[in-house]
């Protein structure tokens, strides 16, 4: 059963071919067998999963289209009664008193959560090596990273431990691990999915989204989690379309723009070859392709590494050792309590970004850094809006290289440059999806497709049609081929 897509599993459950309990037990057994090595889960919740599976089986006939379908949640979504760590020692003891809206909606849809997936601490990372719980291995090659920060979610889906998982994307954290693990990952428009109950990293950039094997699966999941939430004032009051309706629409006449800046220096030639081959598939489906320039692309990483750490330094101020999270032993006074609790609770990358954000926001530096970065952000967004006047979608690689080796990138700046093709999308707030589009040296390559604000249905249609014409998304690592 683990080799089926979420859509196939939902159909099998509806037809009574198997029960949710049978499916859940089978996947829990796979997690038990394989995850000791993979490390894609921080917490597995068999009791809650089996109870939810039984409830879904009991409601058969009256339940919704996702009832009984198992999935996993990045450990950044607050879940009542289950640890939510955000990959940090700071929250190693934290059990949230409420569910995130995404979790509530998935429960209401009848899905069965098998547990919480590993991640870079507070979603800060591009390799999943910054987790307090240790790195995750890429199921295609155990010496490679799975990508970050939703690397646990991506690896769990690729390894066939779950058919789908939820991730969050602040600078590429759904799309890059999806590309590295050979699955499909969608970052929706900023505000499309409620951020209530998602542990905040950079509030003006964070967005939750689905990670699954196919665009069709992502469409079903986005339909379940999208929508306005009065508890999140940045969520958008706008109706949720049926994202599966347009999947089958033909692509003849589709206008594709290829940003010249996404095919320049630093792009692995084999990745470029795979991406250009994928674009030729689109041409064979009736699309027209032309180059376009996004002239401010070069400034996206510098702007991001001002804005995101600045917002993070503010968001992470709440971890003070008083109300929840780690507290140091025997503090001498209140300042000592704050300083030692935070120094002990936060890992190195988180501390680095807090220091960076605090410095750029401090007196004398604000205008030169933060204000300047927000001005550049407007220019980056305008580049996209201008391009979408002319093109339906933009395409390029999700990452300049395939998954790199564990431990290969020790310098933070070289790690940050990994997100060169994904970060601008978050600054502009537009949606993006990564779909499997080939392999380089046995490691997957992702094609990234971008659309204008709220163009998710179009993106999913464009991704789905590619998956009807190719079989990259059907390839499985050896681990996922094993029957248990």
């Amino acid at each position: 059963m683990h080799d089926k897509t979420l859509t196939e599993l939902a159909a099998g459950l509806a037809a009574g071919e198997f029960s949710s309990r049978e499916l859940t037990e089978s996947l829990l057994a796979r997690i038990e067998r394989h995850d000791g090595d993979l490390n894609s889960f921080i917490t597995v919740t068999p009791e809650q999963a089996l109870a939810a599976a039984d409830a879904a089986d009991g409601a058969r006939g009256e339940a919704g289209p996702l009832a009984g379908v198992p999935l996993a949640l990045k450990d950044i979504f607050c879940t009542t009664g289950v640890k939510t760590s955000a990959g940090s020692r700071m929250l190693d003891n934290f059990v949230a008193p409420y569910d995130a809206t995404v979790v509530e909606k998935l429960k209401a849809a009848g899905t069965v959560s098998l547990g919480k997936t590993n991640m870079d601490e507070f979603a800060m990372g591009s390799s999943n090596e910054n987790s307090f719980y240790g790195p995750v291995k890429n199921p295609w090659d155990g010496s490679a990273v799975p990508g970050g920060s939703s690397g646990g979610s991506a690896a769990a889906v690729a390894a066939g431990l779950v058919p789908a998982a939820m991730g969050t994307d602040t600078g590429g954290s759904i799309r890059q691990p999806a590309a590295f693990c050979g699955i499909t990952g969608l970052k929706p428009t900023y505000g499309r999915v409620s951020r209530y109950g998602i542990i905040a990293y950079a509030s003006s950039l964070d967005q939750a989204g689905p990670m699954a094997r196919t665009a069709e699966d992502c469409a079903r999941l986005l339909g379940a989690i999208a929508g306005h939430d009065p508890r999140d004032s940045t969520s958008v009051a706008r109706g949720v379309p049926d994202y599966t309706e347009e999947l089958a629409a033909p692509l003849s006449g589709l206008k594709i723009g290829l940003p010249t800046e996404y095919f320049g220096e630093g792009l692995d030639p084999d990745v470029e070859r795979a991406v250009r081959e994928a674009i030729r598939v689109y041409e064979s489906l009736g699309a027209t392709v032309r180059e376009v320039s996004l002239p401010h692309t070069h400034y996206a990483i510098p702007a991001y590494y001002v804005i995101a750490p600045a917002e993070a330094s503010s968001n992470l101020a709440r971890y003070d050792g008083v109300r929840f999270g780690h507290r140091c032993d025997a503090p001498a006074d209140l300042t000592d309590l704050y300083k030692r609790s935070r120094a002990e609770g936060f890992g190195e990358e988180v501390q680095r970004r807090i220091l960076m954000g605090t410095h750029t926001l401090s007196e004398g530096f604000f205008d030169a850094y933060y204000k300047k970065a927000q001005q550049v952000r407007r220019l980056i967004r305008q580049d996209f809006l201008d391009a979408f006047d002319e093109f339906d979608v933009l395409m390029g690689p999700a990452s300049p290289t395939p998954a790199f080796d564990l431990g290969a990138k020790k310098d933070p700046v070289s790690m940050y440059l990994q997100d060169i093709y994904t970060i601008a999308i978050n600054l502009a707030g537009i949606p993006g999806i990564s779909v499997p589009a080939g392999f380089v040296g046995g490691r997957p390559v992702g094609l990234q497709i971008l659309g204008t604000h709220f163009a998710e249905a179009r993106l999913l249609n464009v991704a789905h049609q590619f998956q009807q014409a190719t079989d990259w998304h059907l390839r499985r690592p050896a681990l996922a081929e094993e029957t248990l």
């Binding site: 900023y190 101020a317 000592d336 935070r342 300047k372 933070p412």
Partner: protein, 95 residues
């Protein structure tokens, strides 16, 4: 804008991160290189460009000024490191 050891210690104090001299020195080099990368922004002319704080350029909605939440103090305090009689315990602040 070159970063100095004292700048790191100042940021650490403002952020209430307990770093000693060696730890601050450890971060100095990395932060210096990140700031060098960030300084590329200065080469771009942004005269007259309004800063963009929200990618959809919408204004913040305000909810009605009404009490909508029930009292959940006991539940929220269950995950606190130290509480007593409904209060969060911290080291003595006033002698």
């Amino acid at each position: 804008m070159a970063l100095e050891h004292a700048d790191v210690l100042r940021a650490a104090h403002l952020a209430r991160l307990g770093l000693n001299d060696d730890e601050a020195a450890h971060y100095l080099d990395d932060l210096g290189r990140i700031l060098e990368m960030v300084d590329q922004l200065q080469s771009l002319d942004t005269e007259g460009v309004a800063p963009l704080a929200h990618p959809l350029e919408t204004t913040q909605r305000l909810r009605a000024d009404e009490v909508t939440e029930a009292d959940q103090r006991d539940q929220f305090q269950r995950c606190a490191p130290a509480v007593e009689q409904g209060l969060y315990l911290v080291p003595r602040v006033v002698e």
